[in-house]
Subunit: 115 residues, 2 copies
DNA sequence: TTGACATTAAACCATATGGTTTTACAAAAA
DNA sequence: TTTTTGTAAAACCATATGGTTTAATGTCAA
């Protein structure tokens, strides 16, 4: 019952569950960065940042291309989309709530005295 | 730089990074369940399931009401919505890709010989 | 009141995680 | 060629995690 897509979601959500890794994604959302450019933004060693990048890469959230001694990292949106779609499967739960709220507001507009 | 909403996302994504916990959410998406009803669905002890539920509860993904000796668990969509919205912040990355693909397909429709 | 039931608490264990420092290596610069 | 630079690999450490088993607790049923 634990299939491949399960394991992929495990890796994606686990990768997203760390604030440093989310911040790295945020930087990569601006533009491609070498690991050495990412590292100074964090209060941890470059080695630690490198390991975070590897985790993101393993989860499919980041791709890397090596140019000389620099490893250029780029956001890969596909994994983010996967997670987004999985969560979207629950959308009806919150939109039901929003619908209820909306209906209530509508009601209030039609009967402003709250009758 | 690690504020409250950061920690909330940590907890939410961490809670989602486990297949048992995601399966529990799946069951709760059907209807409210007592912990004792959830447990037989998994090949682990009831104690372990109880701890998973606590993790989900701590992340705000599940609420619990106690009725006699049963603890009734219900999905709380708000935390899921939070995660969904965070991911939605990256939507432009995959929609850009989809837009490009769409444009390409449009092009192919207009010039079916691939010129 | 006694006993069964649903759940939590506590103690424990193996492994995973996020960090460190040190070592290694390939590429660019001197 | 030698040195410096960017990154990974390896070894290590403390703590977190997901599981177990064994009490402890409160609630329903005989």
């Amino acid at each position: 019952m634990v299939d491949r897509s399960d394991q992929r979601l495990d890796a994606i959500f686990h990768a997203l569950a760390d604030p440093t890794r989310r911040a790295i994604l945020g930087m990569l959302a601006q533009r491609e960065h070498a690991i050495g450019e990412l590292a100074p933004a964090f209060p941890i060693s470059g080695v630690a940042v490198s390991k975070h990048v590897r985790t993101l890469e393993a989860a499919g959230l980041v791709t890397r291309r090596v140019r000389g001694r620099s490893h250029l990292c780029r956001l890969d949106p596909v994994a983010l989309l996967e997670a987004h779609r999985w969560l979207g499967g629950y959308q009806r739960f919150w939109s039901e709530r929003l619908d209820a709220l909306e209906a209530l507001l509508e009601e209030m507009k039609r009967e402003p005295d709250g009758r």
